[in-house]
């Protein structure tokens, strides 16, 4: 969890962590209710009714033993406010503590309780069972956040990529003299292009881009001496205009020959003014080329003979 820090939140961390983990849904509450239901009613039956068949089965393990002890032990450890604080003194678990919450069998427990309600407590009539199942589905639906709440988008291609990605890749290779051209894309395409075509090298990695999108890159930082990546991020990622010679020095020093921008972004004229030439266009993107003074000589290292060397222990020690 990027937005939470154990050192800052202290003993309140776990509450905030659970809050963020289940943000906007009631599944943790449903889990607690399900455990209580399976442990109390599952064991003794309701109002003197006989035990449900699942509990009477001689070889069956009682539901209370399945869910309750594990939850109690998780409450003492993972959900314990002291635990993340203590753990964080040994390892940095700030970003990944939420994964301990995966250990709770939330969905299994809720679904099991639901199934028992339908078949053991809703009576034997099919209509009553169907009505209770529908009621449980309504609770699950209304108590959560739907995966496609912002709309269902069918995949545009079999590659699960925008249709223009293969086209952009083809146009760059058609224009490039080398096998491994280096390019700079806008945020989404920068994250996607190498999934489709790993022979296109990128000027900027994911972390730097994310930092830029989070406000880590400004006009001032882009203008700093030698801060070439910030210049590319400022222009292509954030649409900040910097002097043309600053952009050219960034392209030169990062060996970036291609810049791909959305045609509608208004960046194309600026980039042309900075000395780049348009080499291709797709429906929504323009591919621009920068002719470097010094071309990057990117070659894959030759490992064909290296394997004959036997690694020594000191090779692995810093």
């Amino acid at each position: 969890m990027q937005s939470l820090n154990i050192a800052d939140a202290g003993f309140g961390y776990i509450i905030k962590c659970i809050g963020l983990y289940y943000e906007g849904n009631v599944y943790f509450i449903l889990y607690l209710i399900s455990i209580a239901f399976l442990s109390v009613f599952g064991e003794s039956g309701i109002k003197g009714k006989p035990l449900p068949a699942a509990m009477k089965e001689p070889s069956a393990v009682r539901l209370r033993e399945i869910f309750l002890p594990q939850f109690v032990f998780m409450a003492l450890t993972v959900y314990n406010p002291l635990f993340p604080v203590a753990l964080n003194t040994f390892f940095d678990v700030n970003k990944e503590y939420y994964r301990f919450l995966w250990m709770a069998p939330i969905i299994i427990c809720i679904a099991a309780a639901g199934s028992i309600i339908v078949f053991e407590y809703a009576g034997s009539s099919r209509i009553r069972r169907a009505a209770s199942a529908l009621l449980i589905i309504c609770i699950l639906v209304s108590g959560g956040t739907f995966l496609y709440k912002d709309g269902y988008i069918p995949s545009p291609t079999i590659y699960h990529m925008p249709t223009e990605i293969p086209e952009v890749s083809r146009l760059i290779h058609e224009d490039a003299d080398e096998e491994y051209p280096r390019a700079m894309f806008e945020y989404d395409y920068n994250m996607m292009i190498r999934q489709y075509d790993a022979s296109i090298l990128l000027a900027c990695d994911r972390e730097a881009y994310m930092e830029a999108m989070g406000g880590g890159v400004t006009y001032e930082s882009a203008m700093e001496e030698g801060n070439y990546i910030h210049r590319l991020l400022a222009v292509v990622g954030l649409g900040i205009r910097i002097p043309g010679d600053y952009l050219r020095s960034a392209l030169e020093n990062t060996h970036t020959e291609y810049v791909v921008v959305t045609t509608a972004s208004g960046n194309v004229d600026y980039l042309k003014g900075a000395g780049l030439t348009v080499v291709g266009e797709t429906a929504n993107h323009t591919i621009l080329h920068y002719e470097p003074k010094e071309r990057e000589d990117f070659e894959l290292p030759d490992y064909s003979e290296v394997w004959r060397l036997t690694p020594q222990v000191y090779d692995f020690l810093l």
């Binding site: 639906v141 956040t145 999934q195 990128l202 490992y303 060397l309």
Partner: protein, 355 residues
């Protein structure tokens, strides 16, 4: 579209491999073989064997195609062993499964429809996730450069040392090897084949757990699966296991959250019935060995999950032998965690070249 259909059909290949690996390990003339149990054990045995083949190749800086040849041969041999060891048991296993199916046709059709809708809706949708740039990117990078983890998937630049976080979790390299063997684009393999595989495995573990909880009552199991699948569509924040299952199902972490951890919970339910069953303890150990290959997060989560299920088991069954057995099962994860800490503390590093 033919390619996409082919990628869907390749899901069956994954299950055949898991089943034959499981058969090679567990088949016996004396015992009945369970279809789901064999696939479950086979999944972990498969990835364990893969990483045992991958590590020496990485240590000697050999190319991906060498690993592809080795793995093709090893997997072929293990599948053959599985067939030879288990062909009699397999016949009985399939007959039992078929007879179980015939007795509960409507319930199985209901589960099949739920699963098909579940997979269809998710796999047909378009999801943009940042982590794909690593998990799919590393597969395309490995194939492009014919190397194993030597290049940065984000930029394509050469790395001078292996990133330890991903060093032992060779899941993506298995994807690369299979893409190489089957001549399929990594995007099709990861976003269709592995997605389908992960979702079917999730339903399979739900079925196994439901089968235990409801003592084989298929009506209850089918409604249990229906509720679980609906919950998966709605328990969505960026952190939940459901979100990983629906949007990042080509990652090892998805399998960790939706198959491995619920799988350990299933083993816990089985152990409650018979705490002395050595086969269950061996299965738990196999899970502990195989899971770190899927995701490095397993290094910490598997010992933790074993802890939160086995301590209650010890208290409930008052069997002292639970403690040493569970400690042994925690060992692989703890050792790998220690190696990772040594890397973070700059004690060890694995270079991508001889120094």
């Amino acid at each position: 579209m033919t390619e996409a259909s082919g990628a869907v059909l390749l899901t069956a290949l994954n299950f055949i491999l898991y089943f034959l690996f499981g058969a090679a390990l567990t088949a016996s003339k004396k015992r009945n073989m369970s279809l789901t149990g064999t696939v479950f054990a086979g999944l972990f045995f498969y990835y364990l064997m893969f990483t045992l083949c991958c590590m020496p190749v990485m240590f000697r800086w050999r190319p991906l195609h060498v690993l592809t040849c080795i793995w093709g041969a090893v997997a072929g041999i293990i599948c053959l062993i599985g067939i030879l060891r288990g062909y009699k048991a397999m016949g009985k296993c399939f007959l039992n499964a078929f007879s179980h199916f015939r007795k509960n046709v409507s319930a199985f059709i209901f589960i099949a429809i739920i699963t098909a809708v579940f997979i269809g809706v998710v796999v047909y949708s378009y999801q943009f996730t940042l982590d794909a740039s690593y998990y799919v990117g590393s597969v395309t990078t490995a194939l492009q450069t014919d190397t194993i983890n030597m290049y940065d998937p984000f930029t394509g630049d050469w790395l001078d040392h292996y990133e330890m976080r991903y060093f032992f979790s060779t899941f993506t390299m298995n994807d690369a090897v299979l893409c190489s063997l089957l001549h399929i684009h990594p995007l099709l393999w990861c976003k269709i084949t592995i997605s389908c595989t992960a979702m079917i495995l999730t339903v399979m573990v739900l079925y196994m757990t439901g089968n235990k909880i409801f003592s084989g009552d298929m009506k209850k199991i089918s409604v249990f699966i229906l509720f679980a699948v609906i919950a998966d569509f709605f328990m969505i924040t960026i952190y939940t296991t459901s979100a990983f299952l629906m949007t990042r199902n080509y990652e090892g972490k998805c399998l960790l959250g939706n198959v491995v951890l619920p799988g350990i919970f299933y083993i816990y339910i089985c152990l409650l019935e018979n705490v002395k069953d050595l086969r269950l303890w061996r299965l738990l150990f196999l899970v502990a060995l195989g899971a770190p290959v899927l995701s490095s997060s397993a290094n910490m989560l598997i010992p933790a999950m074993i802890g939160v299920t086995i301590v209650p088991l010890f208290i409930l069954r008052r069997d002292l032998s639970v403690i040493p057995k569970s400690l042994v099962c925690m060992l692989p994860g703890l050792i790998l965690t220690a190696v990772y800490i040594a890397y973070v503390k700059n004690i060890i590093v694995f270079y991508t070249y001889p120094r």
